[in-house]
């Protein structure tokens, strides 16, 4: 149990891990997540479940701070200290018609199980992924197989459209694409910007929020977000919510609550992560 079966750095700082835990593997539905701890002193970090196979499951992990750094430094055969899940509500998977999916960062991986499940329901899938540069794109082949249309955006323009998911999305809509449903997973800015684009067209939009979490079972309220003016707990009511109802400004402030502490723990950490310090805040810089 909790054994890391396989580990590969797919692209710089994004690791694909296969972890053995039959309870998660047997039960996980698209959109659910696990909570991991590398060791007794580590934080409890949530990670989206991307694939399951017999008694193992796969995650794509962005190496960001101290705890993900610790996990990134573990080797196949080693065991994590804790794996709890599957947690959260499964994503809404129905037949909608034309479905738009947007993924960035770890969300390129996290959007894949949704694409697969939505495709199996007979939806037409249009996928847009974003990365800072072309060498940070992963899982492309698998995503192409389950997508009817597939687009790439890079912020340095090294591949596909120069820009972000919202750049491509905006263009598609203006060119007359009709979407019946949209889902976004990735950095908060991307999810917010994309929700703002779909709102005037009344495209039902679901976003998978990555609030800070602690227990992941509704016990602490640390993951609370305002959705439609009501306080919700992302770990038990979500993580998927209506992107047009989320209070984005509040969410972004709450995500930054520990920046100073994270910096301290990162800098005083005895192991050396390969992630550059700039990378550290990269996620929300753009």
């Amino acid at each position: 149990m909790y054994e890391i079966v396989e580990k590969r750095e797919e692209v710089p700082n994004i690791h694909r891990l296969i972890i053995r835990e039959p309870n998660v593997a047997k039960k996980a539905k698209p959109g659910q997540f696990v909570i991991l701890m590398p060791d007794e002193k580590g934080e409890r970090v949530p990670m989206s479940i991307v694939e399951t196979k017999k008694d193992t499951f796969t995650i794509f992990m962005l190496e960001l701070g101290i705890t993900t750094g610790k996990i990134a430094n573990m080797h196949p055969g080693e065991k994590l200290y804790a794996v709890a899940g599957p947690l959260g509500q499964p994503a809404e998977i129905e037949y909608y018609g034309n479905v738009l999916l947007g993924g960035g960062c770890y969300g390129i991986g996290a959007i894949y199980p949704l694409a697969k499940a939505l495709k199996a329901k007979g939806n037409r899938i249009v996928t847009i992924i974003e990365a800072r540069s072309k060498y940070l794109i992963y899982l492309e082949e698998k995503l192409r197989i389950v997508s009817d249309e597939f687009y790439i955006a890079t912020s340095d323009g090294s591949r596909g459209t120069n820009g972000h998911v919202q750049t491509v999305l905006d263009r598609l809509i203006k060119n007359g694409h009709r979407f019946d449903h949209a889902k976004f997973i990735g950095c908060t800015y991307m999810m917010m910007n994309c929700s703002n684009i779909t709102a005037p067209y009344r495209i039902p939009t679901r976003v998978a929020l990555n609030t800070i979490m602690l227990d992941g079972s509704g016990m602490c309220g640390c993951c609370r977000v305002s959705v439609g003016g009501k306080t919700k707990f992302a770990c038990v009511d979500g993580p998927e919510f209506d992107g047009h109802q989320v209070d984005w400004a509040e969410l972004m402030k709450r995500k930054a609550a520990y920046q100073e502490a994270e910096m301290i723990s990162y800098q005083t950490s005895p192991h050396i992560c390969r992630a550059l310090i700039e990378n550290y805040f990269g996620e929300s810089d753009e």
Binding site: E43, K253, I264
Partner: protein
Amino acid sequence: MSKKDSPKPKGKPTTSVKKSRPTRPPRVKMNEQPPAIRVKNFEEVPFGLTPEQARLEASRCLQCKRPKCVEGCPVQVQIPDFIALIAEGKFVEAACKIKETNVLPAVCGRVCPQETQCEATCILGRRHEPVAIGYLERFCADFERLGGHVELPKKAKPNGKKVAIVGSGPSGLTVAGDLALLGYQVTIFEAFHKGGGVLVYGIPEFRLPKEIVEKEIHYLERLGVEIKYNHVIGKCKTINELLTRDGFDAVFIGVGAGLPRFMNIPGENLNGVYSANEYLTRSNLMKAYLFPDYNTPVIKGSKVIVVGGGNVAMDCARTALRLGANKVTLVYRRAREQMPARAEEVHHAEEEGIIFKLLANPVEIIGDEQGNVCRVKCQNYTLGEPDASGRRRPIPIENSFFELEADLVIIAIGNNANPLIPQSTKEIKTNKWGNIITDPIGRTSMKRVYAAGDIVTGAATVISAMGGGRLAAKAIHFDLMGVSDPMITTACQLPKEDE
């Protein structure tokens, strides 16, 4: 187990039961860390009694024939019996005596509200001060534990039945211990990576050292109980699956209250506003007080406001001081007499310099541009007629607002029932507050499924959760093996509450 057992030590020569002696020693005072020092560390506040102190205190007990103290204890610890053993210097035997009815004496001796339970009814308390039953209980449990050798009681032969226990709080641990002794194969499923429930994630180290809880859990493991951590039941397995696929003959649910209540006032989602659960879990379970060696951070705060007046609020306030706050203010709606916290905790909090702002309640939390808390707007209250709980109702005074500066606000106004299990198991009926409904001995509306502790009663005490667990264990034993117990018959005669 019933009161009939108690007359045994009647004829003990050590304690003459004549008229009260003219010179009775005063109630023992436990040495403790001085306030100025203890607010700078997380070590336990009271040091415990020395053997001499314990024997002297034990000698104060009158060894009543009809011990009133026992009636005040929710699990009927045979108090005069264990105290007599202490008086004789038989400390380990005394610990075993307590364990016949209370499997966690080191915990209860520390955290029971004795002043409203066993010590409240102690006969001595009428004229003098009551016997320090809690201190004595703690003393012999510590003596046994620190002696290193805890006797394992005799276990019944395996009876071939498997029982699953959901949650490792005091109620779950009690059921596990009782059933393991009766020969059941017991598995505990715990959502967190550590066992003990509120005892590890809620009650701070300085009030209940975690080492004690770990020892108790180790003891259960030695009894053959298996503990599976990181299992959130309702998510990774349902109750139904435990009963069918996993082949358990019965399931006990002791998942506690654990859904934090907020006040629904503006500003509650600002950074620097915590539920008590989050604050305490960060500090205790995740050991944020040892940050950055432990990686989970906690906002330390220099001007801290804690909202509430119970044990949880006291624990938060005292934790904040130890994390380095300059000023900690407790804001509570009612007056001091109505505070539900244990007297000892209120006293400790005051000694440590916590400021009590009574008859006041926050109406708004005000933040800066970065979304951090900076002030709390409060309103003054007055007390009206007694409400349903018998306490005088707090009434806001119009236009009596004032503001307090704050960089950390902790909301400790209680918990609602966690809905995870009822949501995933429709057969289990709950009341309008979401608490699981059971009969007087812990049977839920679903066959072979039992429940006790905070998930049934709402937030209560460690010992009442244990008492409920004990009854449920007996109910399980009765239903699966047909073995009845006087406790069951007594309990079944009780009228059902609020229905």
